[in-house]
């Protein structure tokens, strides 16, 4: 087989490499989106719902 040009990244040219890494990053974005809604946003919602009754109690006072 012929020698591989040095400009290749992981054996791919830049256009293909961007697609390759872009696909992995897109999948990572999906995972982060899920984690955000499962963990961070959930915590935020819980904190908000805990604050709400306090407010109501204060209002009652």
């Amino acid at each position: 087989m012929e020698e591989v040009p040095l400009s290749l990244i992981l054996g791919m040219d830049l256009g293909v490499f961007i697609a390759w890494i872009g696909t992995l990053l897109a999948a990572a974005l999906c995972v982060l989106y899920g984690l955000y809604h499962q963990l961070i946003k959930k915590t935020g919602e819980k904190q908000q719902s805990q604050k709400e009754p306090e407010k109501t109690q204060e209002e009652e006072r």
Partner: protein
Amino acid sequence: MDILFFVILMAIFATVFIFLGYLGYKKTKTAEDYFVAGRTMGALVIAFSYGATFISAVALIGFSGIASIYGHSILWLAFLNVFVGIFIAFVFYGLRTRKMGLSLKAMTLPELLGNRFNSVKLQQVSGLIIGVFMVAYTSAVFLAISSLFQVTFGIPYWVCVVIFTLVVGIYLIVGGLYAVMWTHAIQAIVMLIGMVILTVGVYAMLGGIGPAHEAAAALTPEMLTSIGSPAATQAPNGLTSMPSFLSQPFMMVLTIIFGVGIGVLAQPQLIIRYLTAKNEKALRLAVPYGGIFILLMTFTAFSIGPLCNVLMYQNNIMYPTKDVAGVMTANPDAVVPTIINELFPAWFILIFLFAILAAAMSTAAALFHTAGASIGRDVYEKSIKGQSSPQKSILITRIATFVIVIATLIISLNPLDVVAFMTAFFFGLMACTFLAPYTLMLYWKKTNRLGVWMGMLGGFLFTMAWYILIYFKTAPKIIGTPLLGDYMINMLDPIFIGLPLSFLLTILVSSITKQDTEEEIIMKRSFENI
């Protein structure tokens, strides 16, 4: 491989699915149960069902074969599949579609359009377009699986098609969308196992990611010619490089990538999955599952396609061919099956066969269900005067689905040409017809009935005219010589013009005409929860 062993496993596979069909039947009490699985589905089942519907045998066999010709540049499609097909689809379309579907009590895409714009005719016409063209797409799914069965076992095509249709037809017609989605979850797992082992196997044989890609990059046109690979001429810059800008291979890659990559947003069989979610959270959490699933399907399939050339070269295997009108031509659909048959152990051949079977069955079931609902519920039921009872509605759709299954069977027994292009044809047509009205319906309150009619019909007619008169794969078969001789125009997917045209028509007509009072009331109701 022992065919008896395969038959036994196939019987178990079929029995499980038919049993799930029975469970679905027991659970189906209302029209909502039959059409949108009672709107009770959780994140994992939605993601797997969406993925298994999206990724057919065409994507796994057809597109990895296409990648063996055009190289890793096809990975752009994998990027669009994950980013647009999952992230954009769920986050920007799924959540709003579910909310609007609930407000409008809609269970299909045509019903969503019809209810949103207060037009039964709109529902019927869009239902008819979906029903008719979905049959053609389903026949492409059958064709893909026949390649594998012919290469692996030499089982006659018609035997596969008949058995396959019977199994899918039974559990689908009996069990409705409950059965379809439960079977999808199982099928998706089988697909995952098959594709992961295949990918790991191919990369392991070639020494890992870097060495495998470098070996592919080092294949010269002469080496590719020696194994009869069409990549010698179609990937002139090498298998791991982008083709030259606006060259013929570049245009080919572009048309494949955008037809399917963007077209995914307007697929009626996928849109139904959003409507099955039990709550908003289920849809949001389906995003990571779906993203990983599609990554492990398309990214792997498109990565290994070009590497099959290296394996063929190293192992003195000739690129598979088929007889087309007495001339032996390259058969990309048989590339992956050939590599598996030649280089993988017998146990894996069985696993992969079931993975492909699962991919084909899951897509076919979803297509049959959507086409049946389109013809039964959207077209026929809406033409009957008076309100149908839920039982009658389900019965009508079951009969319509049965008719569609039989129609697909007949068409599939007279198979059409290369599978991947049938997918591109269907995806492109659905996108040009429905994506603009669907998007604007979700996001622009001024969208009105007339605008949607114009956008939908304008996109549809333009796309059909393009396929008949100009598009390089279809026009020569229909009119002999395409109207225009320039390859850059001939190879352009209609989505590049049809989609902007459809958007323009919908916006323009909606801007210069007004919603009537009834439409305005419905519009306000649709956006209440958004």
